[in-house]
Structures are given as structure tokens and as C-alpha cells.
Symmetry: C2
Subunit: 226 residues, 2 copies
């Protein structure tokens, strides 16, 4: 049985939100992974990496797993009816509806997280509540068939959890060994809790204007959702 | 002072070897990151992701940091004089000469690790000795201005160590918070030590023919090096 996995590849995404899970999924036995966008034209991520989609929305007949990564371009997605309609068309046939980082806000804008527990990048976690979701400050959150990952690098933990869900723990452990995922960060500042108040304040202050813009877009998307 | 960082983007590379460090480096203040290949034509990774280089070798006048990722395509690189000559031209002007995963074998084939301690993906670590390097089973290994990372995901730990080296610990800690790098693997099987003998044996047996092919290529490259 082939597992059909589709990752959304959109302009100004944060590339590691996608490439982390992609590395894991592409090593999953019997998986067929596609990178989906409106067309197959090259797509530029938020910091310059240009990647090619493998299929347009129209070519995608159905999926077992849909995954929406995040990044600054997620703001435009929340008001893009072509994208939201695609997600609403595909999601009901999926056994797992998933996201990494602020991709969960796009699922929220499509009405796909209403009544679900979910997570997001720490900077924007609270915005999930605008879509009727319950924000959970954990690295990977599962609620029924929704699995959401927190910020950027959590996509690797998330994807291993998905492999375990679909094929069992042994398959996930094998991929983990292949990609030598035995993390040893040189510092301990990867979460708001561990970063300490000074660093958290400095980063938060710098990104505050952008987060406010994201919030306005989330509020508008939530209003359209009704 | 701009830090000019170049990552080699070559056919059949393992994309996360490159995209992990790229996400870190592209968030480094005053860094100018380029993806280098022979031309700007699209390059396909080992499992399908197609990416665009940002500059050809001829456009690259000099770098502060060169980084060579790994992956199956590394075998072809070890006998590609255009690539080896580029590395030999660029490396002497770099303050850091680096690699992730089996990229260290390419540095070795270029004669750039002779007499250095270095690391590599666990499956191929011992092959470093063919190039006169001392294999070290650690996640990130530094010897003078050589910094090498172990398999695939170690590129994230590696890149944070590089940021700390260039700009100091606070800058690295800030990037770590941005990418929410607070890893929590669902399983503990990311290294040969933690995977346990059964899983290690199964994965090793399956990749044995490929590792033998890599070894033959490393031996040939070492002979050419003299």
C-alpha cells in the first residue's frame, strides 16, 4: 500500500519547515511524496532557496497525508481562496491532516482545526485560538487525525512521529538512524522556556511588527471563516 | 564585515545535509550565503527535491566559509577534477573549511583533510582514514580551521557551532530560538550506539553494497591523491 504524502511548497515559506519532514518522508518505505503548488514554476523560499514543485493542485487527485509548512508566505496563503479551497477539497480524504510551524494557521484559516488541539511556532501559537483551535505549547501535538509540529526544526520530530503512526515504530527508528538524528545542540536556547527572558525579549521585540501583521491577517481570515 | 558562505549544491546530494545548515546560515547577521555548482541549472537531490544554485564556480571569487554536504552524489564528486580544483582554489582563502555527512570524503579527496581529525556519516566514517584524516565518532569535530559534521541532521548542530565561532554564542543562541531547535526525537535510535545491534545490523546489511561502492571510489580517489 503506497502512502501518498503531499507537502505544500509555496512562495516565502521557511524552507526547513518543508525540507526536514521531506527528508524523513522520502525515506519512508512505499511512500510517494509530492511537492504541491498552483503550478510547477520554481518557488522561492523566504531566504532565497528556490525549489521546484513536483505537481500542480489540479494534478493531485487525492492524498493520504497533507502537510502544510510555515513561514512568512503563510500570511498570503490565509487569504488565498485557491489554496484554501485545495486544502478543503483534499483534507476529507486524508488519513492525516498535518502542519509544521505556522502552517497550522493556514489549516486554521481553511477551517480544518476548529475544535482541535494544535501547535505552531512559539511566536504565533496564541493565534490558533482565533480559528477555534486550542493552542498547545508542545513540540508535536496530535488530536484525532490532526498532527501539528511547532517551529521549524520540530518538523523532523513531527515527521518521525508520522512515520511511526503509519508504519510503526521500527520503521521510524530506521529512518532516524539513516539520518543520524541524535541531536546535540551546542546551546540550550531552542524554546522560550530555555532561552531565558533576555534573549526571548530581544527576539520578540525585533519580530513584533511582523507578528502583528500576521495577527491582523489571522483575524481577517477568522472573520471570513465566520 | 560580511561573512561569505558557500555551500556546494551538487546532483544526488542528500538535501537535508544542505538545507539544515542553510536555514541556520541564512539567519546569521551579515552573512551572504551562496549555493554553488558548475552552472545555475537546476540540481536534483538524491530523493527528488530539485533546487537552483545561486552562482556558478566561475562567479565565485572567494569565500570565508566553504561547506560541502554529502549524499550518494558525493561519489561522483571525488573523481570530478572541476569540483576538486574548485575546492583547492577556494579553501586556502577560507577562514573555515567545512563539511556535513559524507561531504568530508570530498574534502578528503581534494587533499584538504590530510592530517586533520574529522567526522562523517556513521556508515562511512572509517573511510576518512584513506585520505590521511583521523576519523572521530562525534557529532561535530573541529581541528584547527576544519569543522566537520556527522550524518545528515548533524548539519544543524554543526551550523550553530559555526555561527558561534564566527559571531559568538549569543548570535547562535538567537538563531536557535528562531528555528525553535529544542529537539525531542520520539525515539532514541539516531546513532549506532543508541540504535542497538539488531537495527544497526539490518540497516548496515541493506546499505552494504552502496557503502562498498563508496569505499572503492574513496580508495581510487586516495590513490590519485598519492
Amino acid at each position: 500500500m503506497t502512502t501518498r504524502i503531499g507537502l505544500l511548497l509555496f512562495p516565502d515559506l521557511t524552507q526547513l519547515d518543508l525540507t526536514g519532514p521531506l527528508e524523513v518522508f522520502s525515506r519512508m518505505p512505499d511512500a510517494e511524496v509530492s511537492l504541491l503548488w498552483k503550478s510547477r514554476e520554481p518557488v522561492a523560499s523566504d531566504r532565497g532557496l528556490v525549489m521546484l514543485p513536483t505537481a500542480g493542485f489540479a494534478e493531485c487527485a487525492g492524498l493520504d497525508i497533507i502537510c502544510v509548512p510555515g513561514g512568512p508566505g503563510q500570511i498570503a496563503l490565509m487569504e488565498d481562496t485557491e489554496v484554501l479551497d485545495f486544502l478543503r477539497r483534499i483534507a476529507p480524504g486524508c488519513s492525516l491532516v498535518t502542519s509544521v510551524c505556522t502552517g497550522s494557521l493556514v489549516l486554521g484559516a481553511a477551517g480544518l482545526l476548529t475544535g482541535y488541539r494544535a501547535t505552531c511556532h512559539w511566536s504565533s501559537l496564541d493565534q490558533l485560538a482565533l480559528f477555534g483551535a486550542t493552542p498547545v505549547a508542545e513540540r508535536v501535538v496530535r488530536d484525532r487525525n490532526r498532527i501539528t509540529g511547532a517551529g521549524v526544526t520540530s518538523g523532523i520530530d513531527f515527521a518521525l512521529a508520522v512515520v511511526a503512526e503509519v508504519l510503526g515504530e521500527e520503521a521510524a527508528r530506521e529512518v532516524q538512524l539513516q539520518i543520524e538524528y541524535d541531536p546535540a545542540p551546542p546551546f540550550d536556547s531552542g524554546s522560550p522556556r530555555s532561552a531565558g527572558p533576555e534573549l526571548l525579549e530581544r527576539v520578540s521585540a525585533r519580530i513584533a511588527p511582523f507578528i502583528a501583521r500576521r495577527r491582523a491577517a489571522s483575524e481577517a481570515a477568522a472573520r471570513r471563516l465566520g
